[in-house]
Every structure is written in structure tokens, then in C-alpha cells.
């Protein structure tokens, strides 16, 4: 099992750098609160509204900056790994994202008690967990959360809009995956001595 974990962590080292996802996830969740009207932007004056929008823009840049800085932290702490070509997996992710937007349009046109777009996210998360032999136990939990959201109208709730679902649930998903991946990486890898203490290559 330990060797399976070593293989998984090494093969997915770049993807498991969870601190990249947390700031983006938090920003998306903040946007969801905005969509819900928590910040009550309508009651603000035009100048204050512009200021609030600038603040959101600044936060977006901060989140992107933090996400870009995270790999530097991991490289400094655990070193670098050059992985294999992941084009096939990237194609699947692109197809799933594209499928989400197509199905959310279908959801809007059809008045079904089940959201197909949210169902797609749930299935994608579940298939990923299955494919990875349940190494990341939080994936099925997130898949169940998206399934619940997809069936929410069937259970008597009002259907969440695509934007709210994408921002709120998407943000929460990114935060959970980010924390989980970071913990998986930091629990599997020991912290080596600082780079200055590493032996000079001539000693190898």
C-alpha cells in the first residue's frame, strides 16, 4: 500500500499541490456570497459599487498570484519531479468542463427535476476516485454533495442557478480538494533538510 501511495504521489505530484486550489476556491466562494446578495450591492451608491467591484478584482488577482506562488513553495520544500505526459487526462478534464457548460444550458431549457450539469460533475468526481483506487477519500464525499445538489429540486428545493452552483459548490470543492491533496502530500512526504544542507553533487 505504501508503495502504491509513493507511486500515486509521484505520478500526481504537480496535481496534488493543493495550496494552488485553496485561494481560487475561496475566491469562488466569496463570489457565490456575492451572487446570493449577501453583500447587498444594490443598496450601494454607484461609487461604492465601483469600489466593491475593484476590491473583488483585486482579490481575484491575489488569489491567482497565491495559486501561482504555491508550486514554488512545494519545489522549495520537497524538490521537483518531472512527470509523464498528462495530455490524455487534461483532454478528459477539458471535455468535462465543456460538458458542464453545455449541460447547464440544457438544464435551463429543460424543466427537469434533476440537473444534468451538476450530475456530470458528481459522476466525474466519482469516476476519478474509482480510477485512483480511492486514494483520495474526499472525492466520493464531494461527488455525493454534487449529486445532492443535482437532485435538490426533486427533494423539494429550488434549483441552484448555474452561476451559484459553479461558484459556491465549485469553490467549496476546490477548497476541500486543496486541503485534502495538501494533507496527502505532506503526510506521504517527509520534510528533508533545507536545500543548503543537502550534500554537494560531487559527494554523490
Amino acid at each position: 500500500m505504501e508503495h502504491q501511495k509513493i507511486r500515486f504521489v509521484t505520478a500526481n505530484y504537480a496535481q496534488l499541490q493543493g495550496l494552488r486550489l485553496i485561494p481560487i476556491g475561496l475566491f469562488l466562494m466569496l463570489t457565490a456570497f456575492d451572487v446570493l446578495g449577501v453583500f447587498d450591492r444594490q443598496s450601494l451608491s454607484a461609487a461604492d459599487r465601483a469600489q466593491a467591484l475593484t476590491r473583488m478584482g483585486l482579490l481575484a488577482w491575489l488569489a491567482i498570484g497565491a495559486a501561482l506562488a504555491a508550486p514554488v513553495y512545494y519545489r522549495y520544500r520537497y524538490g521537483a519531479v518531472e512527470g509523464f505526459d498528462r495530455r490524455r487526462r487534461d483532454r478528459w478534464i477539458t471535455a468535462a468542463v465543456f460538458g458542464f457548460f453545455v449541460l447547464s444550458r440544457v438544464d435551463r431549457n429543460l424543466d427537469w427535476p434533476v440537473s444534468l450539469s451538476l450530475m456530470l460533475v458528481s459522476v466525474s468526481l466519482f469516476v476519478t476516485a474509482l480510477n485512483e483506487h480511492w486514494v483520495r477519500p474526499y472525492y466520493p464525499v464531494l461527488a455525493a454533495m454534487w449529486l445532492l445538489a443535482a437532485c435538490w429540486p426533486m427533494l423539494g428545493g429550488s434549483p441552484p442557478g448555474a452561476r451559484l452552483a459553479l461558484c459556491g459548490l465549485g469553490g467549496l470543492t476546490l477548497v476541500v480538494i486543496g486541503i485534502g491533496d495538501h494533507l496527502l502530500l505532506s503526510r506521504t512526504l517527509a520534510t528533508p533538510p533545507s536545500p543548503g544542507d543537502a550534500p554537494h553533487p560531487t559527494t554523490l
Binding site: 508503495h3 509521484t10 520537497y78 519531479v81 512527470g83 536545500p195 543537502a198 550534500p199 553533487p201 559527494t203
Partner: protein, 112 residues
């Protein structure tokens, strides 16, 4: 009784260079990527730099890995990757371990 002797035969046929736990962890990690830095191997194995250095030297002597020395800024950044022979060796080793596990399970089931 060839079936009862088989696991032992398989056990003795294991490559000791590969089977040593630290080296097995190194080779397993390297089999999942193109190359890994010395620092990453320290993190994944939990070995001390001196110990890891010694194991890498042994693996390099057997031509299972290739070590490329360089610098990232002022720090040494040594990259390690499997050779074709190393990739074959680790694949074969895991296959042997799987067969051994299957044979042991068969033995246990036949005794019960």
C-alpha cells in the same frame, strides 16, 4: 510438489539490489515519473542525505538509474531518472512480488 516449492524459488529469484526497502521505494518513485530531484527522493523515502546518496550510488553502479548533477541557483539540484534497464528491473520485480503473493495465497487456501 512443485507448487509448494514455487514461492521459495520465486523468493530466491528476487533481485536483492531492487528488493532492499529503501532502493525499492526509490525505484518505485522513479518509475512513476520521468525524473525526480534528489530532494524529492529524500522526502519520499525519508532517508538521510548520506544514506540516499549511498543507495543511489549502488543503483547507478548497477546501471538502473542515471544521475544528472546540476545547480538551481546556488543550490545543487541533482536529477535522477531510471534507465531502460532500471524500468525493466522494477517492472519485473513488482510482477515477481505479485506472483509471489498469488502463490502464497494459493498455498494458504490449499492448506485450509
Amino acid at each position: 510438489m512443485p507448487r509448494t516449492r514455487r514461492p521459495f524459488d520465486q523468493l530466491t529469484a528476487l533481485d536483492k539490489t531492487v528488493h532492499e526497502p529503501a532502493r525499492l521505494a526509490i525505484l518505485t518513485a522513479l518509475s512513476a515519473c520521468r525524473s525526480a530531484q534528489f530532494r524529492y527522493l529524500l522526502a519520499v523515502t525519508g532517508l538521510t542525505p548520506g544514506n540516499l546518496s549511498m543507495h543511489l550510488t549502488k543503483l547507478e553502479q548497477k546501471s538502473l538509474i542515471k544521475i544528472e548533477k546540476g545547480f538551481a541557483g546556488k543550490y545543487p539540484a541533482t536529477a535522477v531518472h531510471l534507465t531502460d534497464a532500471g524500468r525493466d528491473a522494477i517492472t519485473r520485480h513488482w510482477q515477481q512480488l505479485r506472483e509471489l503473493e498469488a502463490a502464497a495465497k494459493y498455498l494458504k487456501a490449499s492448506k485450509a
